[in-house]
Symmetry: C2
Subunit: 258 residues, 2 copies
Protein backbone atom coordinates (compact mmCIF):
# COMPACT_ATOMS: atom_id res chain seq x y z
CA UNK A 1 0.00 0.00 0.00
CA UNK A 2 1.23 3.49 -0.84
CA UNK A 3 2.50 5.45 2.16
CA UNK A 4 4.08 8.41 0.41
CA UNK A 5 3.45 10.23 -2.89
CA UNK A 6 5.88 12.75 -4.36
CA UNK A 7 5.66 14.77 -7.54
CA UNK A 8 8.90 15.56 -9.39
CA UNK A 9 8.34 18.88 -11.18
CA UNK A 10 11.11 18.09 -13.66
CA UNK A 11 12.64 14.72 -14.64
CA UNK A 12 15.94 15.83 -13.05
CA UNK A 13 14.23 16.27 -9.67
CA UNK A 14 13.10 12.64 -9.77
CA UNK A 15 16.73 11.53 -9.65
CA UNK A 16 16.89 12.99 -6.10
CA UNK A 17 13.73 11.23 -4.88
CA UNK A 18 14.13 7.72 -3.50
CA UNK A 19 11.10 5.72 -4.64
CA UNK A 20 9.85 2.23 -5.33
CA UNK A 21 7.93 3.34 -8.42
CA UNK A 22 8.19 6.27 -10.86
CA UNK A 23 5.25 7.24 -13.07
CA UNK A 24 6.38 9.35 -16.02
CA UNK A 25 3.64 11.73 -17.21
CA UNK A 26 3.76 13.47 -20.59
CA UNK A 27 0.04 14.03 -21.03
CA UNK A 28 0.57 16.13 -24.20
CA UNK A 29 1.15 13.67 -25.74
CA UNK A 30 3.71 10.84 -25.43
CA UNK A 31 2.32 8.88 -22.47
CA UNK A 32 -1.25 9.36 -23.72
CA UNK A 33 -0.15 7.94 -27.07
CA UNK A 34 1.59 5.01 -25.32
CA UNK A 35 -1.51 4.19 -23.23
CA UNK A 36 -3.63 4.36 -26.39
CA UNK A 37 -1.31 2.15 -28.45
CA UNK A 38 -1.37 -0.57 -25.78
CA UNK A 39 -5.17 -0.33 -25.71
CA UNK A 40 -5.09 -0.92 -29.48
CA UNK A 41 -3.04 -4.07 -28.98
CA UNK A 42 0.62 -3.32 -29.74
CA UNK A 43 2.76 -6.22 -28.53
CA UNK A 44 5.23 -3.88 -26.83
CA UNK A 45 6.81 -0.46 -27.37
CA UNK A 46 10.38 0.79 -27.39
CA UNK A 47 10.75 4.41 -26.24
CA UNK A 48 13.96 5.94 -27.60
CA UNK A 49 15.65 9.29 -27.07
CA UNK A 50 17.32 9.55 -30.47
CA UNK A 51 15.75 9.96 -33.90
CA UNK A 52 18.25 7.82 -35.83
CA UNK A 53 17.95 5.00 -33.29
CA UNK A 54 14.16 5.08 -33.65
CA UNK A 55 14.41 4.63 -37.43
CA UNK A 56 17.02 1.90 -37.10
CA UNK A 57 15.12 -0.18 -34.54
CA UNK A 58 11.86 0.13 -36.50
CA UNK A 59 13.52 -1.07 -39.71
CA UNK A 60 15.46 -3.87 -38.00
CA UNK A 61 12.49 -5.28 -36.07
CA UNK A 62 9.66 -4.42 -38.48
CA UNK A 63 8.05 -2.23 -35.82
CA UNK A 64 5.53 0.55 -36.40
CA UNK A 65 7.34 3.88 -36.12
CA UNK A 66 5.72 6.72 -34.16
CA UNK A 67 7.08 10.11 -33.08
CA UNK A 68 7.47 13.84 -33.41
CA UNK A 69 9.96 16.66 -33.76
CA UNK A 70 8.49 20.08 -32.95
CA UNK A 71 5.17 18.31 -32.53
CA UNK A 72 5.01 16.87 -36.07
CA UNK A 73 5.90 13.44 -37.56
CA UNK A 74 9.52 13.32 -38.83
CA UNK A 75 10.20 12.18 -42.39
CA UNK A 76 9.82 8.47 -42.95
CA UNK A 77 7.78 7.87 -39.77
CA UNK A 78 4.62 5.77 -40.09
CA UNK A 79 2.74 7.96 -37.62
CA UNK A 80 3.09 11.09 -35.49
CA UNK A 81 2.83 11.26 -31.70
CA UNK A 82 -0.92 11.69 -31.87
CA UNK A 83 -3.19 9.80 -29.48
CA UNK A 84 -6.14 10.46 -31.79
CA UNK A 85 -4.28 8.83 -34.66
CA UNK A 86 -3.03 6.06 -32.33
CA UNK A 87 -6.65 5.30 -31.38
CA UNK A 88 -7.33 4.15 -34.97
CA UNK A 89 -4.16 2.10 -35.50
CA UNK A 90 -4.53 -1.63 -36.22
CA UNK A 91 -1.16 -2.97 -35.05
CA UNK A 92 -2.11 -6.63 -35.63
CA UNK A 93 0.17 -7.71 -32.79
CA UNK A 94 3.23 -5.79 -34.04
CA UNK A 95 5.52 -3.84 -31.75
CA UNK A 96 6.03 -0.07 -31.86
CA UNK A 97 8.86 2.44 -31.54
CA UNK A 98 8.27 5.95 -30.23
CA UNK A 99 10.56 8.99 -30.32
CA UNK A 100 9.39 12.29 -28.77
CA UNK A 101 10.95 15.46 -27.37
CA UNK A 102 10.03 15.11 -23.70
CA UNK A 103 8.17 11.94 -22.69
CA UNK A 104 10.41 9.30 -24.16
CA UNK A 105 13.52 11.18 -22.96
CA UNK A 106 12.13 11.13 -19.39
CA UNK A 107 11.30 7.41 -19.64
CA UNK A 108 14.83 6.66 -20.86
CA UNK A 109 16.45 8.78 -18.12
CA UNK A 110 14.58 6.94 -15.35
CA UNK A 111 14.58 3.43 -16.84
CA UNK A 112 16.53 1.03 -14.66
CA UNK A 113 15.60 2.80 -11.41
CA UNK A 114 12.99 0.72 -9.56
CA UNK A 115 9.63 0.31 -11.37
CA UNK A 116 8.99 2.85 -14.14
CA UNK A 117 5.47 3.33 -15.56
CA UNK A 118 4.08 5.50 -18.38
CA UNK A 119 1.05 7.33 -16.97
CA UNK A 120 -1.53 9.74 -18.36
CA UNK A 121 -5.16 10.61 -17.84
CA UNK A 122 -5.99 8.00 -20.49
CA UNK A 123 -4.82 5.20 -18.16
CA UNK A 124 -5.10 7.02 -14.80
CA UNK A 125 -7.34 4.43 -13.16
CA UNK A 126 -5.30 1.43 -14.30
CA UNK A 127 -1.99 3.06 -13.31
CA UNK A 128 -3.34 4.12 -9.90
CA UNK A 129 -4.47 0.54 -9.14
CA UNK A 130 -1.10 -0.81 -10.20
CA UNK A 131 1.13 1.62 -8.29
CA UNK A 132 -0.80 1.28 -5.02
CA UNK A 133 1.20 -1.92 -4.36
CA UNK A 134 4.30 0.30 -3.91
CA UNK A 135 5.09 2.20 -0.69
CA UNK A 136 6.85 5.22 -2.17
CA UNK A 137 5.45 6.48 -5.47
CA UNK A 138 6.86 9.42 -7.44
CA UNK A 139 4.90 11.02 -10.27
CA UNK A 140 7.34 12.58 -12.74
CA UNK A 141 6.31 15.57 -14.87
CA UNK A 142 8.12 15.10 -18.20
CA UNK A 143 8.02 18.86 -18.79
CA UNK A 144 8.79 20.84 -21.93
CA UNK A 145 11.90 21.91 -23.84
CA UNK A 146 13.47 18.48 -23.58
CA UNK A 147 12.45 18.17 -19.94
CA UNK A 148 14.42 21.25 -18.86
CA UNK A 149 11.30 23.35 -18.19
CA UNK A 150 8.24 22.78 -16.05
CA UNK A 151 4.96 22.04 -17.84
CA UNK A 152 1.64 22.80 -16.18
CA UNK A 153 -0.07 20.22 -18.42
CA UNK A 154 1.83 17.31 -16.85
CA UNK A 155 1.44 18.81 -13.37
CA UNK A 156 -2.36 18.98 -13.71
CA UNK A 157 -2.44 15.34 -14.84
CA UNK A 158 -0.17 14.47 -11.88
CA UNK A 159 -2.77 16.03 -9.57
CA UNK A 160 -5.41 13.61 -10.88
CA UNK A 161 -3.04 10.69 -10.30
CA UNK A 162 -2.26 11.87 -6.74
CA UNK A 163 -6.00 11.87 -6.07
CA UNK A 164 -6.50 8.43 -7.63
CA UNK A 165 -3.55 6.77 -5.88
CA UNK A 166 -4.46 8.34 -2.54
CA UNK A 167 -8.04 7.18 -2.90
CA UNK A 168 -7.26 3.79 -1.45
CA UNK A 169 -4.96 5.12 1.31
CA UNK A 170 -6.35 8.17 3.15
CA UNK A 171 -3.32 8.39 5.45
CA UNK A 172 -0.82 8.63 2.61
CA UNK A 173 1.86 11.28 3.15
CA UNK A 174 2.16 13.90 0.38
CA UNK A 175 5.32 15.81 -0.57
CA UNK A 176 5.06 19.59 -1.08
CA UNK A 177 4.56 19.36 -4.83
CA UNK A 178 2.11 16.45 -4.54
CA UNK A 179 -0.08 18.47 -2.17
CA UNK A 180 0.13 21.40 -4.57
CA UNK A 181 -0.86 19.23 -7.55
CA UNK A 182 -3.84 17.85 -5.68
CA UNK A 183 -4.88 21.39 -4.81
CA UNK A 184 -4.53 22.51 -8.43
CA UNK A 185 -7.01 19.90 -9.65
CA UNK A 186 -9.70 21.27 -7.37
CA UNK A 187 -9.13 24.98 -7.96
CA UNK A 188 -12.13 27.11 -8.80
CA UNK A 189 -10.00 30.13 -9.64
CA UNK A 190 -6.78 30.49 -11.60
CA UNK A 191 -4.86 33.71 -11.17
CA UNK A 192 -7.93 35.85 -11.20
CA UNK A 193 -10.13 34.10 -13.75
CA UNK A 194 -12.91 31.86 -12.51
CA UNK A 195 -12.72 28.33 -13.81
CA UNK A 196 -15.75 26.18 -14.52
CA UNK A 197 -16.82 23.26 -12.32
CA UNK A 198 -14.15 21.15 -10.64
CA UNK A 199 -14.25 18.20 -13.03
CA UNK A 200 -13.11 20.38 -15.91
CA UNK A 201 -10.40 22.28 -14.02
CA UNK A 202 -7.74 19.82 -15.14
CA UNK A 203 -8.80 20.10 -18.78
CA UNK A 204 -8.64 23.89 -18.55
CA UNK A 205 -5.20 23.82 -16.94
CA UNK A 206 -3.89 21.45 -19.63
CA UNK A 207 -5.33 23.41 -22.55
CA UNK A 208 -4.24 26.74 -21.03
CA UNK A 209 -0.67 25.65 -20.26
CA UNK A 210 2.23 26.95 -22.37
CA UNK A 211 2.51 23.49 -23.94
CA UNK A 212 -1.24 23.30 -24.54
CA UNK A 213 -1.26 26.65 -26.34
CA UNK A 214 1.65 25.60 -28.58
CA UNK A 215 -0.04 22.27 -29.32
CA UNK A 216 -3.26 24.08 -30.28
CA UNK A 217 -1.34 26.57 -32.43
CA UNK A 218 0.13 23.83 -34.65
CA UNK A 219 -3.31 22.40 -35.35
CA UNK A 220 -3.32 19.59 -32.78
CA UNK A 221 -6.24 20.75 -30.66
CA UNK A 222 -8.02 17.43 -31.24
CA UNK A 223 -5.14 15.67 -29.45
CA UNK A 224 -5.63 17.93 -26.41
CA UNK A 225 -9.34 17.08 -26.33
CA UNK A 226 -8.46 13.39 -26.43
CA UNK A 227 -5.67 13.64 -23.84
CA UNK A 228 -7.88 15.18 -21.13
CA UNK A 229 -10.32 12.23 -21.18
CA UNK A 230 -9.64 9.83 -18.31
CA UNK A 231 -9.70 6.05 -18.47
CA UNK A 232 -9.89 5.33 -22.19
CA UNK A 233 -7.16 2.70 -21.70
CA UNK A 234 -6.68 -0.04 -19.11
CA UNK A 235 -3.01 -0.53 -20.03
CA UNK A 236 -0.17 -0.18 -17.49
CA UNK A 237 2.95 0.27 -19.63
CA UNK A 238 6.03 -0.56 -17.53
CA UNK A 239 9.71 -0.62 -18.41
CA UNK A 240 10.74 -4.28 -18.77
CA UNK A 241 14.24 -3.76 -20.19
CA UNK A 242 16.45 -0.82 -21.04
CA UNK A 243 19.81 0.30 -22.35
CA UNK A 244 21.59 3.51 -23.30
CA UNK A 245 18.88 5.70 -24.83
CA UNK A 246 16.08 3.14 -25.03
CA UNK A 247 13.46 1.54 -22.79
CA UNK A 248 11.21 -1.40 -23.67
CA UNK A 249 7.67 -1.08 -22.32
CA UNK A 250 5.21 -3.92 -21.89
CA UNK A 251 1.66 -3.89 -20.55
CA UNK A 252 1.76 -5.07 -16.92
CA UNK A 253 -2.04 -5.12 -16.78
CA UNK A 254 -2.13 -7.78 -19.50
CA UNK A 255 -0.07 -10.26 -17.51
CA UNK A 256 -2.11 -9.98 -14.34
CA UNK A 257 -4.47 -12.78 -13.41
CA UNK A 258 -8.08 -11.88 -14.26
Amino acid sequence: MTKRIDVALLPAEALSIASDCYVVIDVLRATTTIATLFARGVADLIAVNDLATAREIARRDGRLLFGEVHGLPPEGFDYGNSPVEASTVEPGGRGAVLFTTNGTAALCSLAGRAVVVAGSLANAGAVASFVRQHERVTLVCAGIEGGNRFGLDDFAAAGVLVERVRDGSPDVQLGDAAAMALTATTLSEWHGSTLPAAETTVARLIAGSAHGRVTESIGLGHDIEYSVIADTSSAVPVVAACGEGWALLVDAAKDEPA
Copy 2:
Protein backbone atom coordinates in the same frame (compact mmCIF):
# COMPACT_ATOMS: atom_id res chain seq x y z
CA MET B 1 9.24 47.62 -17.66
CA THR B 2 8.70 43.92 -17.04
CA LYS B 3 6.98 42.09 -19.90
CA ARG B 4 7.45 38.50 -18.78
CA ILE B 5 7.79 36.78 -15.40
CA ASP B 6 8.89 33.18 -15.01
CA VAL B 7 9.36 31.09 -11.90
CA ALA B 8 12.11 28.46 -11.91
CA LEU B 9 10.93 25.68 -9.58
CA LEU B 10 14.51 24.50 -9.05
CA PRO B 11 17.81 26.38 -9.56
CA ALA B 12 18.67 24.00 -12.43
CA GLU B 13 15.52 25.05 -14.31
CA ALA B 14 16.68 28.69 -14.23
CA LEU B 15 19.67 27.73 -16.38
CA SER B 16 17.19 27.00 -19.21
CA ILE B 17 15.30 30.30 -18.89
CA ALA B 18 16.68 33.28 -20.81
CA SER B 19 16.24 36.36 -18.60
CA ASP B 20 17.55 39.83 -17.93
CA CYS B 21 17.28 39.38 -14.17
CA TYR B 22 17.19 36.39 -11.79
CA VAL B 23 15.83 36.75 -8.26
CA VAL B 24 17.03 33.91 -6.01
CA ILE B 25 14.55 33.15 -3.22
CA ASP B 26 15.47 31.09 -0.14
CA VAL B 27 12.88 32.45 2.23
CA LEU B 28 13.79 29.92 4.97
CA ARG B 29 16.26 31.46 5.54
CA ALA B 30 19.30 32.57 3.52
CA THR B 31 17.84 35.39 1.46
CA THR B 32 15.80 36.65 4.41
CA THR B 33 19.02 36.74 6.44
CA ILE B 34 20.80 38.58 3.60
CA ALA B 35 18.04 41.23 3.31
CA THR B 36 18.14 41.67 7.08
CA LEU B 37 21.93 41.99 7.25
CA PHE B 38 21.94 44.73 4.62
CA ALA B 39 19.18 46.52 6.54
CA ARG B 40 21.49 46.35 9.58
CA GLY B 41 24.27 48.02 7.57
CA VAL B 42 26.76 45.38 6.46
CA ALA B 43 29.08 46.91 3.85
CA ASP B 44 28.68 43.93 1.54
CA LEU B 45 28.27 40.15 1.72
CA ILE B 46 30.06 37.24 0.09
CA ALA B 47 27.86 34.20 -0.49
CA VAL B 48 29.97 31.04 -0.75
CA ASN B 49 29.09 27.44 -1.53
CA ASP B 50 31.85 25.82 0.49
CA LEU B 51 32.36 25.72 4.26
CA ALA B 52 36.18 25.93 4.25
CA THR B 53 36.12 28.86 1.81
CA ALA B 54 33.68 30.70 4.09
CA ARG B 55 36.04 30.33 7.07
CA GLU B 56 39.06 31.33 4.99
CA ILE B 57 37.50 34.49 3.50
CA ALA B 58 36.15 35.60 6.88
CA ARG B 59 39.56 35.22 8.52
CA ARG B 60 41.44 36.85 5.65
CA ASP B 61 39.14 39.89 5.35
CA GLY B 62 38.02 40.26 8.95
CA ARG B 63 34.40 39.65 7.91
CA LEU B 64 31.55 38.53 10.13
CA LEU B 65 30.91 34.84 9.49
CA PHE B 66 27.32 33.59 9.14
CA GLY B 67 25.95 30.23 8.10
CA GLU B 68 24.46 26.84 8.75
CA VAL B 69 24.86 23.12 8.21
CA HIS B 70 21.68 21.12 8.84
CA GLY B 71 20.12 24.42 9.93
CA LEU B 72 22.59 25.12 12.74
CA PRO B 73 25.74 27.32 13.00
CA PRO B 74 28.92 25.36 12.18
CA GLU B 75 31.84 25.37 14.63
CA GLY B 76 33.77 28.63 14.68
CA PHE B 77 31.05 30.66 12.99
CA ASP B 78 30.13 34.03 14.56
CA TYR B 79 26.45 33.56 13.81
CA GLY B 80 23.96 31.08 12.32
CA ASN B 81 21.74 31.66 9.31
CA SER B 82 19.04 33.22 11.48
CA PRO B 83 17.24 36.37 10.32
CA VAL B 84 16.08 36.98 13.90
CA GLU B 85 19.70 36.92 15.09
CA ALA B 86 20.75 38.99 12.05
CA SER B 87 18.18 41.64 12.98
CA THR B 88 20.17 42.39 16.17
CA VAL B 89 23.67 42.38 14.66
CA GLU B 90 25.73 45.61 14.86
CA PRO B 91 28.10 45.18 11.92
CA GLY B 92 29.65 48.63 12.29
CA GLY B 93 30.30 48.83 8.55
CA ARG B 94 32.03 45.44 8.35
CA GLY B 95 31.40 42.97 5.54
CA ALA B 96 29.87 39.53 5.96
CA VAL B 97 30.34 36.00 4.64
CA LEU B 98 27.43 33.55 4.39
CA PHE B 99 27.46 29.80 3.80
CA THR B 100 24.18 27.87 3.62
CA THR B 101 22.86 24.63 2.14
CA ASN B 102 20.51 25.98 -0.53
CA GLY B 103 20.36 29.76 -0.94
CA THR B 104 24.03 30.60 -1.27
CA ALA B 105 24.53 27.60 -3.59
CA ALA B 106 21.77 28.91 -5.87
CA LEU B 107 23.26 32.43 -5.83
CA CYS B 108 26.69 31.06 -6.76
CA SER B 109 25.27 28.85 -9.54
CA LEU B 110 23.53 31.81 -11.20
CA ALA B 111 26.12 34.54 -10.51
CA GLY B 112 27.56 35.90 -13.74
CA ARG B 113 24.33 35.37 -15.71
CA ALA B 114 22.66 38.78 -16.25
CA VAL B 115 21.53 40.57 -13.05
CA VAL B 116 21.20 38.32 -9.98
CA VAL B 117 19.29 39.53 -6.90
CA ALA B 118 18.68 37.97 -3.46
CA GLY B 119 14.94 38.23 -2.77
CA SER B 120 12.65 37.30 0.10
CA LEU B 121 9.45 38.55 1.69
CA ALA B 122 11.61 40.77 3.93
CA ASN B 123 12.65 42.86 0.92
CA ALA B 124 9.77 42.03 -1.47
CA GLY B 125 8.76 45.62 -2.11
CA ALA B 126 12.28 46.90 -2.71
CA VAL B 127 13.18 43.97 -4.96
CA ALA B 128 9.94 44.33 -6.97
CA SER B 129 10.63 48.04 -7.60
CA PHE B 130 14.18 47.25 -8.66
CA VAL B 131 13.45 44.35 -11.02
CA ARG B 132 10.62 46.16 -12.85
CA GLN B 133 13.29 47.90 -14.94
CA HIS B 134 14.02 44.52 -16.56
CA GLU B 135 11.92 43.04 -19.37
CA ARG B 136 12.33 39.34 -18.56
CA VAL B 137 12.43 38.49 -14.86
CA THR B 138 12.89 34.98 -13.47
CA LEU B 139 12.18 34.19 -9.82
CA VAL B 140 14.31 31.23 -8.75
CA CYS B 141 13.16 28.91 -5.96
CA ALA B 142 16.36 27.86 -4.15
CA GLY B 143 14.66 24.65 -3.01
CA ILE B 144 15.79 22.08 -0.46
CA GLU B 145 18.33 19.24 -0.29
CA GLY B 146 21.04 21.38 -1.86
CA GLY B 147 18.63 22.75 -4.44
CA ASN B 148 17.82 19.32 -5.88
CA ARG B 149 14.27 19.27 -4.50
CA PHE B 150 11.35 21.66 -4.80
CA GLY B 151 10.44 23.71 -1.72
CA LEU B 152 6.92 25.04 -1.26
CA ASP B 153 8.25 27.74 1.08
CA ASP B 154 10.23 29.46 -1.69
CA PHE B 155 7.40 28.95 -4.15
CA ALA B 156 4.90 30.71 -1.88
CA ALA B 157 7.30 33.65 -1.48
CA ALA B 158 7.78 33.67 -5.28
CA GLY B 159 4.01 34.08 -5.63
CA VAL B 160 4.13 37.26 -3.56
CA LEU B 161 6.96 38.58 -5.74
CA VAL B 162 5.03 37.76 -8.94
CA GLU B 163 2.14 39.78 -7.55
CA ARG B 164 4.40 42.70 -6.53
CA VAL B 165 6.36 42.85 -9.81
CA ARG B 166 3.20 42.53 -11.90
CA ASP B 167 1.51 45.28 -9.93
CA GLY B 168 3.08 47.94 -12.09
CA SER B 169 2.52 46.07 -15.37
CA PRO B 170 -0.94 44.52 -15.68
CA ASP B 171 -0.20 43.14 -19.17
CA VAL B 172 2.86 41.21 -18.06
CA GLN B 173 3.03 37.67 -19.47
CA LEU B 174 3.33 34.90 -16.88
CA GLY B 175 4.98 31.52 -17.43
CA ASP B 176 3.10 28.39 -16.26
CA ALA B 177 4.83 28.25 -12.88
CA ALA B 178 4.51 32.01 -12.31
CA ALA B 179 0.75 31.81 -12.85
CA MET B 180 0.62 28.87 -10.48
CA ALA B 181 2.62 30.71 -7.80
CA LEU B 182 0.31 33.71 -8.05
CA THR B 183 -2.68 31.41 -7.69
CA ALA B 184 -1.14 29.70 -4.66
CA THR B 185 -0.86 32.97 -2.75
CA THR B 186 -4.59 33.57 -3.06
CA LEU B 187 -5.80 30.06 -2.27
CA SER B 188 -8.48 29.68 0.33
CA GLU B 189 -8.17 25.91 0.43
CA TRP B 190 -5.16 23.62 0.49
CA HIS B 191 -5.75 19.95 -0.35
CA GLY B 192 -8.95 19.78 1.57
CA SER B 193 -8.23 21.96 4.59
CA THR B 194 -9.59 25.47 4.62
CA LEU B 195 -6.93 28.15 5.07
CA PRO B 196 -7.52 31.41 6.90
CA ALA B 197 -7.95 34.76 5.13
CA ALA B 198 -5.92 35.45 1.99
CA GLU B 199 -3.22 37.61 3.56
CA THR B 200 -2.07 34.76 5.74
CA THR B 201 -2.14 32.06 3.04
CA VAL B 202 1.52 32.58 2.23
CA ALA B 203 2.55 32.32 5.87
CA ARG B 204 0.57 29.10 6.20
CA LEU B 205 2.12 27.62 3.06
CA ILE B 206 5.63 28.49 4.27
CA ALA B 207 5.14 27.13 7.79
CA GLY B 208 3.38 24.02 6.47
CA SER B 209 5.99 23.20 3.80
CA ALA B 210 8.37 20.28 4.27
CA HIS B 211 11.18 22.78 4.91
CA GLY B 212 9.02 24.79 7.33
CA ARG B 213 8.21 21.70 9.37
CA VAL B 214 11.89 20.71 9.59
CA THR B 215 12.85 24.28 10.56
CA GLU B 216 10.21 24.26 13.30
CA SER B 217 11.34 20.84 14.52
CA ILE B 218 14.91 22.02 15.21
CA GLY B 219 13.66 24.91 17.33
CA LEU B 220 13.79 27.68 14.74
CA GLY B 221 10.09 28.55 14.64
CA HIS B 222 10.91 32.17 15.51
CA ASP B 223 12.84 32.44 12.24
CA ILE B 224 9.77 31.27 10.30
CA GLU B 225 7.64 33.92 12.02
CA TYR B 226 10.20 36.56 11.05
CA SER B 227 10.64 35.31 7.47
CA VAL B 228 6.94 35.59 6.59
CA ILE B 229 6.83 39.32 7.42
CA ALA B 230 7.03 41.46 4.27
CA ASP B 231 9.05 44.64 3.82
CA THR B 232 11.20 44.74 6.93
CA SER B 233 14.18 45.63 4.69
CA SER B 234 14.58 48.08 1.81
CA ALA B 235 17.81 46.46 0.63
CA VAL B 236 18.25 45.09 -2.90
CA PRO B 237 21.27 42.75 -2.65
CA VAL B 238 22.70 42.20 -6.15
CA VAL B 239 25.70 40.20 -7.33
CA ALA B 240 28.48 42.69 -8.15
CA ALA B 241 31.34 40.23 -8.69
CA CYS B 242 31.76 36.47 -8.65
CA GLY B 243 34.16 33.59 -9.12
CA GLU B 244 34.18 29.81 -8.73
CA GLY B 245 32.00 29.11 -5.68
CA TRP B 246 31.52 32.69 -4.46
CA ALA B 247 29.41 35.76 -5.24
CA LEU B 248 29.85 39.25 -3.80
CA LEU B 249 26.56 41.02 -3.07
CA VAL B 250 26.13 44.77 -2.60
CA ASP B 251 23.00 46.78 -1.88
CA ALA B 252 21.81 48.29 -5.19
CA ALA B 253 19.16 50.34 -3.34
CA LYS B 254 21.90 52.17 -1.45
CA ASP B 255 23.52 53.50 -4.59
CA GLU B 256 20.31 54.79 -6.12
CA PRO B 257 19.64 58.50 -6.10
CA ALA B 258 17.16 59.45 -3.37
